[in-house]
């Protein structure tokens, strides 16, 4: 079997695996948000940036190649990741104390993991639409981080409910229905797309506080200590 090294640890990989796939299989955590092993990699959040043979690369898209020397859990990379996470926080409107997803949110969990204690950057206070038109689902664009997971999951569901539109800082999530509202789309509460959101942008109505805050997934465990499935909310 072929091998790469991550922070000095020898990690085996199979032909065709990306760096993050090899790392996950070996129990090495690389922080990420837009990556989910169920779907084709996207490579947009850049949290999984690692240093491969001296150059930065995106671990979720970059193929593992025999003999690569990968730096992952370094002070510099974790600092950059913290700053990228802070960028996501100030770009949208993420107010953890009042968010139903608090404790189960991957964005928040990655923030905890990276020891993020403030937002650092000035807030954008973006005006984003909230869509409560669906009987079972709520779409709160204030919390969308453009990970594209709902888009990919909906395609895998055999539907095409979500898409990303707009350019640059005006990027936003849109819904495929005549009115543009979720209630008029063909999404169903049982779709994978309804449950894939790493933040609180897509929520199932009536379930917000079934598990009390304080007893949730990331309230007592660092995301890096969880299995790949648990990290992504299973």
């Amino acid at each position: 079997m072929s091998h790469i090294t991550i922070d000095g640890q020898v990690v085996p990989f199979e032909e065709g695996q990306t760096i993050i796939e090899a790392a996950t299989a070996a129990g090495v955590y690389i922080p990420h948000l837009c990556h989910n092993p169920e779907y084709a990699p996207h490579g947009s959040c850049k949290l999984c940036t690692v240093n491969v043979n001296g150059r930065n690369a995106t671990a979720c898209t970059f193929p593992a190649v025999e003999g690569q020397t990968v730096c992952n859990n370094t002070e510099e990379l974790n600092f950059d990741r913290k700053r990228l996470t802070q960028m996501l926080f100030v770009e949208g409107n993420h107010f953890c104390p009042s968010c139903e997803k608090s404790g189960n949110c991957e964005l928040q969990a990655v923030g905890y993991h990276l020891n993020m204690l403030d937002n650092h950057y000035p807030h954008f206070f973006a005006l984003r639409d909230l869509d409560s038109s669906h009987p079972d689902l709520l779409l709160d664009r204030n919390r969308c981080i453009f990970c594209n997971l709902c888009v990919r999951a909906s395609h895998a569901d055999g539907k095409d409910v979500f898409a990303i539109a707009g350019r640059g800082i005006n990027k936003h999530l849109i819904v495929n229905s005549a009115s543009g509202n979720l209630g008029d789309s063909d999404i169903n509460v049982d779709d994978r797309a309804a449950h894939i959101c790493p933040t609180g942008a897509i929520l199932v109505k009536g379930t917000a506080f079934k598990v009390p805050i304080g007893q949730r997934r990331y309230d007592h465990h660092d995301i890096c200590d969880m299995s790949a499935g648990e990290q992504h909310g299973e």
């Binding site: 193929p63 950057y121 095409d160 640059g168």
Partner: protein
């Protein structure tokens, strides 16, 4: 509307890939993209409604909101501003009774800014319904206004209003070499295609877009990839502010370009080529179509070229105002009818490009050079330039000089000589390679053109000592924030943060930690962004901070705390709402002594 949409779709074979061409025509017809058109196109092409909406929202020249019947876009490049853009904008807006950024009530006119239109040697410039108008002066504006108020279609305007000059001031190796139509192809077929590829290798030709990848190697990779179809794409989307040399090549050297593309098709085994022409060069679209037609009837394009059993044809697709589409994989996405989002690499286009088939994407100048090399041989080309950068480079020179325009130099030429030739005095510095390149100051003029020193796609903007570094950097920094595609976090959020942070310092609201913070954001964008746009977006700040740290520090307030925001600025909305502007409605950032 249904019959117009059907007719337009038919023109493009009811195919989803030329979606941008279809939407361009819809926009021209209705002055916006009607929601009904989205539904009709979606049904006919089987493309989801959301993909069409996403495309409309992505490209600057498309809009869901109605534009005026005469949509005027003023080039906002630093070079246009230096040529007096602000004054002509004020004059135009006043004459048409239409403030910048608005649509007139009668819907006849709308006026807005746009990124560099590639007329930096003849600015200030504008696009009117896509048609380029150069040398804006009050006199010419009066004539434009009269034509608009009389509802004369732009294509019927006086030809001198629509004229675009080549302004070639120094022709070198490529611009003087003769090439009879078909001569390069004939030479290549006689010598053998593999042998001709070897000549290109010998020539040492590297990509002229700026990155400098070895052309022969790119063609070889593509040729060696197993595939049922391969493609040749000409990147004619020069959007780097200050670049306009491809405009001149496309205008006066189109045969050389198309011959180079055909040669590439023959060598790599492609039968289809594309010219991705930036939307700002709409005035070149019809002339290019005519050259293609002329070459088809001469047996130099199409089926059985030169009776040698060679098939190759070319389609032109127009861009719609997105700088990012100059990035080759974003360009390919755009050619496929999508948003211009750069792809993850690997795979590279040479193995998986257009429709996931092996694709060569090269700059206009690269194809022109390849055509000449096929005729003259590799040694002819390699005899010029330097060891690592053979041949010549065509520069687009603009800014503070006596003769702005096109200059061709062998690589290795010093900046000093170039400045002498174009008549630049009292020079503060030069932006080599455009905003994504390097700002060099007056102590560096012995540096030379070349991949080993100053690489450039052709942009060369000269600033004299009357110019402010901050005006220049601010224009560039705003440009990148506007043009970021938004795919990755560092570029999407980072370029906007950089803009805010730079403006804060620029307007005198920065304090001691703010330059350090600016530097930190700049580095983060550079090292973690997805593509070249983000990786170079902070270059104007990084390169000027290196050279003029004292200028930045002079902008900083000498106060012991770091205000998080501009106190007085935060009251602007309150002042507007209350209609007040007295002294009590303003707050100083620091309490007066």
């Amino acid at each position: 509307m249904e019959s117009f949409i059907n007719h337009t779709l038919k023109k493009y074979q009811d195919c989803a890939t030329p979606l941008l061409m279809v939407l361009r025509e819809v926009q021209a017809q209705y002055f916006h993209i009607p929601k009904l058109a989205v539904d009709l196109i979606s049904q006919q092409l089987g493309v989801s409604r959301t993909q069409i909406i996403a495309v409309v929202e992505f490209y600057s020249f498309l809009s869901f909101e109605s534009r005026g019947h005469y949509d005027i876009l003023l080039s906002d490049s630093i070079t246009d501003i230096m040529l007096g853009k602000q004054d002509v904008a004020d004059y135009l807006c006043q004459k048409l009774h239409t403030p910048l950024g608005t649509v007139r009530a009668d819907r006849l006119v709308s006026i807005d800014n746009t990124s560099c239109t590639g007329l930096c040697d003849q600015g200030p410039a504008a696009l009117v319904n896509g048609h380029a108008i150069a040398y804006l002066t009050p006199e010419r504006i009066d004539r434009m206004v009269a034509a608009i108020e009389h509802n004369i279609s732009v294509s019927d305007w006086d030809s001198d209003l629509l004229a675009v000059d080549d302004n070639i001031h120094q022709a070198g190796l490529l611009l003087t070499a003769e090439l009879a139509h078909g001569a390069a192809l004939q030479a290549a077929l006689q010598r053998g295609l593999t042998e001709t590829l070897d000549e290109i290798k010998t020539a040492g030709l590297r990509g002229r877009g700026g990155a400098g990848f070895t052309t022969a190697m790119k063609w070889q990779f593509c040729r060696d990839t197993e595939a049922s179809q391969r493609y040749v794409v000409c990147n004619a989307d020069e959007g780097e502010p200050g670049t306009f040399k491809d405009r001149v090549l496309l205008n006066s050297y189109a045969h050389e370009l198309i011959e180079g593309m055909t040669l590439c098709g023959a060598i790599i085994g492609a039968t289809q080529g594309f010219i991705y022409l930036r939307g700002e060069y709409l005035h070149l679209y019809e002339p290019l179509l005519a050259v293609l037609a002329q070459r088809r009837s001469a047996g130099l394009l199409g089926d059985n070229i030169l009776d040698q059993g060679l098939d190759f044809d070319i389609t032109i697709q127009l861009g719609l105002g997105a700088y990012i589409c100059g990035e080759e994989s974003a360009l390919i996405e755009s050619l496929e009818g999508k948003r211009g989002i750069p792809r993850n690499r690997p795979p590279y286009p040479v193995t998986s490009g257009y429709l996931n088939k092996p694709t060569v994407v090269n700059n206009v100048e690269t194809f022109v050079a390849a055509a000449h090399i096929a005729l003259q041989g590799g040694a002819w080309f390699a005899a010029h330039g330097t060891e690592q950068s053979t041949g010549t480079k065509i520069l687009s020179i603009s800014g503070d000089c006596a003769k702005a325009g096109i200059y061709e130099y062998p690589f290795g030429t010093s900046i000093r000589q170039i400045l002498n030739d174009c008549g630049a005095d009292d020079v503060l510095g030069v932006q080599v390679g455009g905003p994504s390149g390097t700002f060099i100051c007056d102590t560096e003029f012995d540096r030379v053109l070349g991949f080993e020193d100053l690489a450039t796609g052709g942009s060369f903007i000269i600033f004299n000592t009357s110019r402010s570094i901050f005006d220049i950097v601010q224009n560039f920094t705003h440009f990148f924030a506007h043009e970021s595609c938004g795919f990755c976090t560092p570029c999407r959020v980072g370029t906007s943060l950089l803009k805010k942070q730079f403006d804060k310092i620029c307007t005198g609201h920065g304090s001691s930690g703010d330059v350090r913070e600016l530097q930190e954001i700049a580095q983060l964008i550079k090292t973690t962004s997805h593509c070249g746009l983000g990786q170079t977006a902070a270059q104007p700040i990084i390169t000027t901070l290196e050279r003029y740290p004292e200028l930045y520090n002079q902008k900083i307030k000498q106060i012991s705390f770091e205000p998080g925001f501009d106190l007085d600025g935060a009251l602007a909305i309150a002042r507007q709402l209350s209609g007040r502007d007295d002294s009590n409605a303003h707050l100083a950032q620091v309490e007066e002594e």
